[in-house]
């Protein structure tokens, strides 16, 4: 296992991404606050460059590479948001990018990844090992692998999202009671939990996952890295990883409070609420924390709760389907 990132790595990452990543707004909505009886602070990472928080880690990692020494470019495997982050970061650095993506990746995610000049290789989520395919290309091309979460620079980069939340709230004289983080492999969660453990230790940080993919919630209870029974089959395509990362779990184990789990119907309702009331386009995986708040999974009455609207890359077809259900 690589060395785990420290808080100072998040501070260094914040300097590195400054000017390239968007300092996304931390929004409150009067209707939502009235509905739950507390204050909900929403970090709108759907407004981040490439439409999700993933650009933070990708740029923090790739901007450190020397293009002259990494002529083989970068290789990544991703369900779609990391792919876009890596592709955009590589393009900014003038480096080639090859991305290994599942065949069932939302159309908008593969189209956007291509729009940043990346090459795409697809695989079958159920039968093939994406890390193996990626490593094959790394060896063949002399490329650098940019993993989606098991990397100190990636985790530190995602941690800048948490640091921005804390700094912004410090200016507003607010301390969060709970911080909810949409959780796949646990990179964003690990970075955010590290930032809060240092700067806002009273805040309880929770992972939020979709039903059937609650490996983190179960692992936090059992103390070991549990696996999911399925590899695919949720609209939360951004949150489907087989099990917690080794590094991210080592970081999160002692820092996270209870993990929350939300159903597909609850996520759909949250996506619709974001459209109708927040006026934001949030993808299903990006709306898990909002869903947890809307259904009262976390008691919000009289409290300050943070959530991350972690991405907005949703296919128009699925979005339309969700809007029509109302």
């Amino acid at each position: 296992m690589q060395e785990l990132p420290k808080f100072s790595d998040i501070e260094a990452a914040a300097k590195r991404i400054s000017g390239e990543a968007v300092v996304t707004p931390l929004l409150e909505n009067a209707k939502l606050n009235a509905l739950v009886g507390g204050r909900i602070f929403m970090k709108a990472e759907c407004l981040q460059r490439t439409g999700s928080f993933k650009f933070r880690g990708a740029w923090n990692c790739i901007s450190k590479l020397d293009p002259a020494r990494s002529k083989g470019g970068v290789v990544a495997y991703s369900t779609g948001n990391h792919a876009q982050g890596v592709a955009a970061a590589a393009q900014l650095r003038g480096m080639a990018a090859l991305i290994v993506m599942p065949e069932d990746t939302p159309e908008i995610k593969s189209a956007n990844t291509k729009s940043y000049g990346a090459e795409i290789v697809t695989y079958d989520r159920a039968t093939e090992d994406r890390a193996e395919i990626a490593n094959h290309y790394v060896a063949k091309r002399g490329a650098v692998l940019v993993p989606p979460f098991e990397h100190a620079d990636i985790i530190a980069g995602q941690g800048t999202c948490g640091l921005e939340i804390i700094n912004e709230l410090y200016g507003r004289n607010v301390e969060l009671d709970d911080m909810l983080v949409n959780c796949g492999g646990g990179g964003l969660t690990a970075g955010v939990a590290l930032a809060f453990s240092q700067k806002s230790p009273k805040t309880k940080v929770h992972s939020v996952e979709p039903e059937g993919f609650d490996d983190y919630a179960r692992s936090l209870r059992s103390g070991i890295r549990e696996k999911n029974a399925r590899a695919a089959g949720s609209i939360c395509d951004a949150l489907l990883t087989p099990q917690p990362g080794e590094m991210t779990f080592a970081m999160n184990k002692g820092r996270l409070a209870e993990g929350y789990v939300v159903s597909e119907a609850e996520v759909r309702r949250a996506v619709r609420f974001a459209f109708e009331t927040l006026k934001l386009v949030v993808e299903p995986g990006g709306a898990a924390g909002l869903a947890a708040v809307l259904i009262g999974k976390v008691a919000a009455k009289g409290k300050n709760i943070g959530i991350i609207l972690s991405g907005g890359n949703v296919d128009p077809k699925l979005f339309v389907e969700i809007l029509m259900e109302a």
Copy 2:
């Protein structure tokens, strides 16, 4: 004609709305900037309380009323966004609100207006006079009329949107070449143009209107208040007023540069672009300025251009229809 608002009225309004209105983010998007070859600064008023800039003026006006002396409450006529702003402001002040709305108001706008506790009276846009109906209720109830744009407090309130843009850009060391304002009766335009004339006089301020409702563009050319041939029949329901307001035109006449006009197809494309790329829900009338930028109506190459995404209250059905066209 009432006395026209001065710049100091905008500064006073900014203090008054502080803590109630959202200081909405001024966003840039890397893809949009690359597309047009300039920097586009987008004031996201769709993220404002009640989903449009209209809460600014409504709160600036209504918070000055004494509820004990205005027992008849407030009355307003509105195509929908002003209605929501007035209803929410009245509710916050514990005052009754009656809103006169056209029969063809989008469902989401009337539902939201009711959700703030307002009473709604409908009229036929083509055959009835909304001001007359509103004045009937004002007299009957001893209520205070809150007009959509012909009022110094309303114009000054909307002007805070311009002041926030200028202050934010001052902090980023940017001066705008052009500022595009979606224009109906001209209240937002007048407030924003007043703010820029005082604090950023080199910036050219332009109105943007939908085809068939270009009364402001024609009035600016002829020097007198021109009328539209039609009263209804555009998806930009927020921008359909019969002619420029007397006060707003007196303010805008000497301050505005050329007015821009965009087609319905161009507006639809802009709404779709906002969904796909910006991850924001923008209503057709709120996307006119974005449409003007996307089609190159204003030369953006190497320039700094400001636009206002002035509202996000769009019916799911219309939004779905627009997304499906792609």
